[in-house]
Symmetry: C3
Subunit: 674 residues, 3 copies
Amino acid sequence: MSLTYGGDYNPEQWPRDVWDEDVRLMQRGGINLATVAVFSWARLEPRPGEYDFAWLDDVLDTLHAGGIRVDLATATASPPPWLAKRHPETLPVTEDGVRLAVGSRQQYCPSSPVYREHARRLVERMVERYAGHPALELWHVNNEYGCHVSRCYCDVSAAAFRTWLEARYGTIEELNRAWGTAFWSQRYDAFDEVEPPRAAPSFRNPTQLLDFDRFSSDELLALHRAEVEVIRAASDVPITTNFMGFFKPVDYWSWAPHVDIVSDDTYPDPADPDSPAYAAMVRDLMRSLGGGAPWLLMEQSPSAVNWRQRNAPKAPGMMRAWSYQSVARGADGILFFQWRQSAAGSEKFHSGMVPHGGTDTRVWHEIEQLGGELRRLSEPAVGLEGSRVPSSVAIALDWDSWWAIEQPASPTSVSYVQALFAWHRAFTSLGLAVDFVRADGDLSAYRVVVAPAHFVATDAQVASLAAFAEAGGTLVVGFGTAITDEHLHVRLGGYLGEPLRRALGVWIEEFAPPAAPDLGAVGGGAAPTVALEGDVVGGAASGSVWAEVVRVDDAETLATFTEGALAGWPAVTRRDVGEGDGAAWYVATLPDRDGLARLVPRVLEDAGVAVPPSPTASPSRAGDVEVVRRGELTFVINHGPDAAELRLDGTDVLSGAAASGLELPSQGVAIVRS
Amino acid sequence: MSLTYGGDYNPEQWPRDVWDEDVRLMQRGGINLATVAVFSWARLEPRPGEYDFAWLDDVLDTLHAGGIRVDLATATASPPPWLAKRHPETLPVTEDGVRLAVGSRQQYCPSSPVYREHARRLVERMVERYAGHPALELWHVNNEYGCHVSRCYCDVSAAAFRTWLEARYGTIEELNRAWGTAFWSQRYDAFDEVEPPRAAPSFRNPTQLLDFDRFSSDELLALHRAEVEVIRAASDVPITTNFMGFFKPVDYWSWAPHVDIVSDDTYPDPADPDSPAYAAMVRDLMRSLGGGAPWLLMEQSPSAVNWRQRNAPKAPGMMRAWSYQSVARGADGILFFQWRQSAAGSEKFHSGMVPHGGTDTRVWHEIEQLGGELRRLSEPAVGLEGSRVPSSVAIALDWDSWWAIEQPASPTSVSYVQALFAWHRAFTSLGLAVDFVRADGDLSAYRVVVAPAHFVATDAQVASLAAFAEAGGTLVVGFGTAITDEHLHVRLGGYLGEPLRRALGVWIEEFAPPAAPDLGAVGGGAAPTVALEGDVVGGAASGSVWAEVVRVDDAETLATFTEGALAGWPAVTRRDVGEGDGAAWYVATLPDRDGLARLVPRVLEDAGVAVPPSPTASPSRAGDVEVVRRGELTFVINHGPDAAELRLDGTDVLSGAAASGLELPSQGVAIVRS
Amino acid sequence: MSLTYGGDYNPEQWPRDVWDEDVRLMQRGGINLATVAVFSWARLEPRPGEYDFAWLDDVLDTLHAGGIRVDLATATASPPPWLAKRHPETLPVTEDGVRLAVGSRQQYCPSSPVYREHARRLVERMVERYAGHPALELWHVNNEYGCHVSRCYCDVSAAAFRTWLEARYGTIEELNRAWGTAFWSQRYDAFDEVEPPRAAPSFRNPTQLLDFDRFSSDELLALHRAEVEVIRAASDVPITTNFMGFFKPVDYWSWAPHVDIVSDDTYPDPADPDSPAYAAMVRDLMRSLGGGAPWLLMEQSPSAVNWRQRNAPKAPGMMRAWSYQSVARGADGILFFQWRQSAAGSEKFHSGMVPHGGTDTRVWHEIEQLGGELRRLSEPAVGLEGSRVPSSVAIALDWDSWWAIEQPASPTSVSYVQALFAWHRAFTSLGLAVDFVRADGDLSAYRVVVAPAHFVATDAQVASLAAFAEAGGTLVVGFGTAITDEHLHVRLGGYLGEPLRRALGVWIEEFAPPAAPDLGAVGGGAAPTVALEGDVVGGAASGSVWAEVVRVDDAETLATFTEGALAGWPAVTRRDVGEGDGAAWYVATLPDRDGLARLVPRVLEDAGVAVPPSPTASPSRAGDVEVVRRGELTFVINHGPDAAELRLDGTDVLSGAAASGLELPSQGVAIVRS
């Protein structure tokens, strides 16, 4: 087994003589995989039906000769300008009716049959030509599906949306029922009256919006599946397409079964001190999408990106530290965008493995260093091979809820991912890896399941969560959960749904989100909060985003709100569930970081999950030091500004030194085998 | 006489068996009026020309059987999707040329003859069928005219605008003169060259903008009048359409004569401590629009709304307190949107009288309580019947000024309503109700008339204001008044117009609004202010929004600016006017709240208007406690967070207790008969 | 020689009898030039091909009779509505596809052949009729080219862009190479596939954007040149068109050769304390565009403008002080927009020389006062005639760099002009005038050349800057310089280009701009900074906007960064260059104002440039007091709030008093002849 190491390789940007230099440098850097042809359509098919593969043959042969294997893209991510010229109807249209132009990338309507046909033809040629190439390691379908155009409102999309709706609902009566069109005089008399949620005078129908989200995710997936079908017909080489972390437009739960290996593109902001914790959550998602199987970090930046307002470079050691975070959390490969930093085009200021400044640079030195280390880590003796990341805690993740809770015309403004993040961080900062799960998936492997802001919940999901507690698990339900069913019809009688209401012993009378005068909300003053108190949150705490009037039928109140109209109402409740050790917690707001840091150990204690001892001598450093167990190895990564002293038993496989007493500098990494 | 109590009732959202439960609950809650069919067009006319009234017959009969009377909407507020499908040109178009789609509501061009014809046909059927229904109490024309689409820039609207202009100006030469097209090479050679003020390279012609505002308000009114005409032809039942408080797009002065009873929809933000004072101003406007006659609060929310960024619920008691504020200020009915909280659609998170959680809820309990109280208040002995709200103070309100002073390319950024609000609050916080008037209306009933920011003033208006002071009234003219005539032509020679200049004894040399570097204006730092001082404003004060160089010909300077280039120039002046007690004050900025609170009693003293004694023992509570006299009753409402002790003579008709010494809790209400 | 004094004169807005009054007042005010017919097209050609010049004859004759000379506009700045009605394709289109409407001004596509033909026809008539008019002093071509519409994305513009590109690149292969279309699959197969940079899914091709900027500037210049050609064929009267200071859309370096006299419109914000310093930079640019020749301040406001959010009037004396700033920095004329303040239209609240309030006003008094003074200053004895403003310091200014460094997808957000301004202010606050130059122009007249943020640098420019130092000059290169060549291809191997790298003795490994989490950037918190220290910047200082990892090959490090990952890396370096006194400084960030104020004297000392002694007794006043030498005269202008005492030898030609000991009040001006 060998850890994958490499990056996007776009040799068509460079003269031929640079290619040989590239291979020599790749060898020097320990690179063993190059992603090729991602944006090569216009070069491969310079005019309709006329193909030029010679240069790509050369690229693959050159890489192969150098011992570099290839992740070969299907090259369909960005059609050539001639497609738009000949078929302007393939260009996507915004909700305001603006037809987007050529000149950047991804300018195609996902539902366009013309695009689909042209893409299929290209993939057939690619597979025909390269399925048997000895360098081929992986098929890379398209690229970052939907990253710029995930929703198209053109007439072609409208027709496809109607077809999708007809398949979903069968009759217009059923659509009317599901969408609640009895309100606001929206009743449709026939499917051909239905439109995508284009710009409208007021709030658009919420279920129409949600269905358009579902449709749009499905349309992109259909593109992916069409390419997969072409490849499968002629090749056994594994297939991937690169995901983009917590990417709202596309439901990765539905996508994951259609790749052989999950891969991810992630670009945390080096200037944001929350980035390591947030990135940890992304890695855990990728592992979870693959059911625990190893995944690939397909793209990260060697240093700065170029698309933020201000683009900080990665600090020395940061790229290495974040790479090991991925390995710790289940990745078997580290790749970058891109190999050689472009000299022209829209990403020329995105860092590359070979920077503008050449190889006498910090970035290149770090690339080389990591390449060497990954090669050593690949040795069987290290024990990485086949190792998994154990977890007894899971967080329910649901794209329907994400789409719905962030719609306008809702109780308040919620960032779904920020709610997940708060919970994830509270567990992982204790050294526990967290899986993401579907609420109606198999939860039996977990001791704790948290369902935060699971706004849309099917009957099956409500039942599954309740059953988890009945079966002895510790269930934590966060605010805003099971407010509606899958049609966005409210669960009447106190929300949550009957089984959860019973398990939790509470129901919700009314939402009471922290608010402030509209005027105060402009200019972005501090978000309003609500006060709560209870030993379980460490005394006094504050909550943000959401609050509710919780009515207790049969539960213990562990924390209460203390201010305003909510004063005295429950903020955190708990109930014994089922015959065994089951428990159901309800948390009616988003406690602040300290409050959650006090609450989560109580939940774990309730579930009988042991918290690992701190890996550092100084407890105050613990917040900065990430600890993850993968198989027999414990990864310790110091994201903080100061050095930390280790107090783990065992040996650091990177340095060979005893772990205990080891001084871990800022951005330092130890991989301890005990 | 019976106070009206009820709300919007949308039974088509619910199964038939819920309707019977609805009537039972309405009876329990004291409801006596239900607004029906507001958004029912698509249900009533499922396809063009095919009508289904059976269900609505059932609704009306069921309500009637239960003793609930009906406010029947004409159902034209939101056309069915089939109208847009068959006649896409009925869809409205934004100033950027975006044609808005179906999927929300109100998607029609106000000038569309196709929409008008379809609406007329529907109203004819409604009237034909229900004019004689025994439950019918009120006709409800359309709904919230213009709330989402008050301006349409499509070609149909453009043609209608040209027709309107031709009627207004007769010749293109006259339009050119009025619009000042000699500047910027805008001269039109024929009416067919004129367009609505669509997106343009720079500032659009100000008079074109103003005329488009007038035209758009007129077009909506024409829709209303067309429906009224159909109803009048066959029914004597009173007619209303629901206004929306201070709603900029529509000139309610021109609308009020076309309803039999004024009704209003108001949704103050429960999270904003200014809401009670602002809402008081809205109630005073509604009373004024009807010439002092009783009006209906047609829509308020039982608790939270769902369209703000963050939607706070109403605190316990707040709905009741705000309801009584309406009654105190002249309302004879309290209604809500909506009866049963929706389970689906865009307003499902807007609170309802029957919440998602059912009737074991605070909201329902408060609904029931208020229903009972209003029934008791309706008893003749209470003396509410026929009672009026006396006022000796009026504020001039003018939509032309509102439209014009908030145009771009003006001296500074002004919120017209905020300027009105500052003055209104200063008077009402002293326990005085304030009427709104047209500057050229009958002012003889008032002792004080304030004209704040009355930017656009016709000759008649200028003369009327001056004549008011000549006749012995106390006139207060605020900054930015009579800057232009009705064509937005500047009143040269010092603004204000000759009669006002003479009455006030001042003219304006130059505007000098408080300003700050553009950069500082971004991100919304505190608005810049200007300092002033004078005993009349309580010593030192600050002004915001506006300031001017005031030249005094013949007036007493009561306060002066003290900083910068304005230092030493007059901020407040006063002049004796006419033979009697007339006085004319000029206030050249918007004094801060404390400054106005000192200034207004001086104005009242000048006018010989007595300030009522404080209704509470603790003067510091007075700011939170609203006092209004209606007929023989004094309403006292505690909007503050702390209890207040009453010191009024008389009896609280709600509790039957003696008023003096009564402890009024937060949100508490006393209605004192002395 | 006579200093020009006057303003825009739009008599068509007023009745005929006002015109005579105008001339009388002009005479009283010392006005000697009136700009006429700027927005008169619709009046001159009321319908296609039908001309009405009679009124303009009258205007010119009336002015001539009164001794007022005329700056005659070609009247093409804003076409009449009939052009749009008959040729809608002449209306400009935004990048989102919105076709802009009539109703404001400048509503034409710069590439429209229909507009061009109509404009040419009009100019021919104007020249034919007025070339020989005795009042004619100056031709005023169009007006503020591009101020509202500098970029048009319509199909006509698209075709013109393709023609421009074909002329620039010859073959599509060359365009592909220049634009780097190998990336993101953007390869064009033919010119007819290329579009303007319309709204697209993601970042548009950077070189496409830059070329569209160049094309758009060229298209506007082509309009200007076409008019110039018509005029030149029949008239020897000098030609100007009014520039707009640092106006990004148009490259004035390319325009300047096509006017006989440079003229400028500038409207600094009176509420911004930085305005005098910023305006000083604008004046220096105007002088530089004309190669040092006298220029005209064609438009300034007598007091307030009307297009900011809040429009402060000019403080008493400020208009005069800022007028003298222009004269000090090379202007031979002061004009205003506009003569008589409009009573209607979009600029009625823009102040005029004759205000709404008439002539008994501060504004008119100041107009009269300045007119008298300028007449006296025009006397030969004063010595203004033919005098020049000497400068030994120049700043390189480059529109390509401006366009490119502010593109998205760059290392960080930079305001190019703010970077220039920081350097300009540091020099001018020492009493040194600064020229602007092209980096590849003749630099031999200067001792110091600063190249800040000169992002795009041709080989010639890189060589020219290096040669300047080689030849004994002191070169200061600021961050972000010579990052790319003219195609936006990165200068590999450490940026800067070979000759500059050698001269400076440094190369750039990586950009490290100060950054903050994206969240922090919202709401506009303080911009992030980076710390540096060094005696050369006065000890500890901070830098903003940009920072870099500077690698020193052969230079002295004078200041270093002190925080974060940059700690210890060079911030300011210096190297001896060439045989003589040449030196090359590199400054890797934008030091704060104090830091630059310490650094610049060191640079001047290095260059042997003497800093003039402070003109005031109190050094603390120096920051507020502007000093400029023009010929034999020293202009001293007090922009600060407090009086300052002069300590210059010589006589103040305005007051005739001895300069030394003279008390200069706020906004006071002394013109000292020594």
